[in-house]
């Protein structure tokens, strides 16, 4: 098996180098997906099937898709720019190079070489330091795995990793879910406002540009491709059922809320890519779904305090069922969160058709009358303009 490990390790380095050395971003992303598959194998060799599962769902799955989608959005604008009317062309070009200053900053060749050298030396230093730390490590004085093994009978869950995540160190997990929630809140705040009274000039201007870029896509993306439709109709239920199974398996073997949530999100992403519009239109409901897992987790964790127990404790005998309940809710919310980060990303080409046709009427009138950032609040727009001077 040593040959396998050596090959796999070198293969990972090679794939990583491929990611970094390819000038073409598409190739870099494909290399990244490949790296994810290799990493999942490495986790298996490290006896970490949970991590392999997470990596398979995330690295090879969702992150790759997110990256591909972003790249396609950024590139679609570039391609579209070629044949659009001049005004739009000018708009879309800014997508491809947003920093005019980058042009001003002409380094000399020597400067660039020096920079390369410095960074290279730094990385080399880090490499040596890390390897030294690895080789010179002292014998560990504390044996945590044995403590975990002792604690398992009281944890209410057989699978040690789930026990660590949702019982011994559940505080970490609580904050981790909060991190996800923060990410999705920011995602929601940055989506293009759809509410009419939030509709300020920049957004209507945006919609104009977006429609220019996506005119073709929106009309085409109705899910009328028979192959795609049939494929997704079979795939989605399969992915969802697998997600449920992974959640259920989590209490005794590899699996759990996060991996299952990633699968749920994947099902949603597939549906989205095939043109189904499953994202909730009702903002309030969406928000409730997003916070549900966190809300349940926090409520359970805090309500035990009324019984005089410490925060994040579980009442005797209840740990197993409470953990499963929390996990189920978390799965739903994590799935929705990841999906929402995908669907509500600014510039998602296939974003609500109905909405955009509604808007086109509206934006038609607003763009004509408003002047760009004109009606922003005084402090801010003033600042922004001054900044550009």
């Amino acid at each position: 098996m040593i040959a396998f490990d050596i090959l796999l390790g070198l293969g990972m380095l090679l794939a990583a180098a491929g990611v970094f050395w390819s000038a073409d971003l598409f190739r870099a992303i494909v290399m990244f997906v490949v790296f994810g598959v290799l990493l999942a194998l490495a986790w298996l060799r490290l006896q970490a099937p949970d991590l392999a599962l997470a990596e398979a769902a995330i690295g090879a799955g969702l992150t790759g898709v997110l990256l591909l989608d972003t790249l396609s959005v950024l590139r679609a604008k570039k391609t579209a720019a070629g044949k659009l009317p001049p005004v739009d062309q000018q708009l879309l070009n800014t997508f491809t190079s947003t920093r005019a200053c980058a042009a001003q900053n002409n380094h000399g060749k020597g400067h660039e070489n020096l920079r390369f050298l410095a960074v290279g030396l730094l990385s080399l230093g880090i490499l040596i330091a890390l390897q030294a730390a690895l080789f010179m490590r002292p014998e560990a004085a504390v044996n945590l795995p044995s403590m975990v093994a002792e604690g398992i009978p009281d944890a209410g869950i057989e699978h040690p990793i789930t026990a660590v995540l949702l019982n011994f160190r559940s505080y970490d997990t609580l904050l981790e879910v909060a991190v996800l929630l923060v990410a999705v809140i920011i995602g929601l705040s940055l989506r293009i406002p759809s509410n009419s009274n939030e509709q300020q000039a920049p957004s209507s201007a945006l919609i104009g540009a977006r429609q220019a870029a996506y005119a073709g896509v929106i009309s085409e993306d109705g899910g009328n491709d028979p192959i795609l439709r049939n494929f997704t109709q079979r795939l989605i239920p399969l992915v969802l059922v697998t997600g449920g199974y992974i959640l259920w398996a989590g209490s005794t073997m590899p699996g759990g809320a996060f991996q299952a949530g990633a699968l749920i999100a994947a099902a949603g992403v597939i549906a989205r890519l095939a043109g189904y519009n499953i994202a909730s239109r009702v903002d309030q409901l969406l928000r409730f779904g997003l916070v549900l897992g966190f809300l349940v987790f926090l409520t359970v964790a805090a309500s035990v305090m009324f019984g005089g127990r410490p925060f994040l404790n579980y009442p005797d005998g209840w740990a197993g069922s409470l953990i499963f309940f929390i996990e189920a809710m978390l799965t739903f919310s994590i799935g929705l969160t990841l999906l929402s980060l995908f669907v509500h990303s600014p510039g998602d080409g296939a974003e609500p058709n109905a909405k955009s046709s509604q808007r086109s009427v509206k934006s038609g009138s607003t763009v004509g009358s408003d002047n760009g950032v004109g009606n922003r609040p005084p402090g801010n727009s003033g600042k922004a303009e001054a900044d550009h001077d």
């Binding site: 040959a3 999942a40 989608d69 396609s72």
Partner: protein
């Protein structure tokens, strides 16, 4: 038996690493994506072999997830192609659909 399976796993891994060359060389985006799909399927094969070698049934789940999610990447890729193609045709359609841009020009 275990030795044979180990050798099989190594052979599959070598075929994966050869696949890296195709991802690197391309030349087309589709070539790269199909090579990545090869990674998905061969990866599933290796996981299954490892499951048998280490006698760990839980690994079958991973193979399942890996095979399901490989499909998502290919979907995203196909959509990307569509997006680029349709964006290229956008000029004709945009005059029809895009009221905002028209208004702007007429201003």
């Amino acid at each position: 038996m275990a030795d044979f399976l180990t050798i099989a796993a190594i052979v599959l891994l070598i075929s994966l690493l050869l696949g890296l060359i195709r991802v690197w060389r391309g030349p087309g985006a589709a070539d790269r994506m199909l090579a990545a799909q090869l990674f998905g399927t061969t990866g599933v094969g290796i996981v299954l072999l490892l499951a048998v070698i280490t006698d760990n049934g839980a690994l079958f789940d991973i193979a399942l997830v890996l095979s399901l999610l490989a499909a998502v990447a290919i979907l995203a890729f196909v959509r990307r192609l569509k997006l680029q193609q349709s964006a290229a045709d956008a000029s004709s359609l945009s005059t029809k659909n895009d009221t905002a841009a028209n208004k702007k020009e007429g201003q």
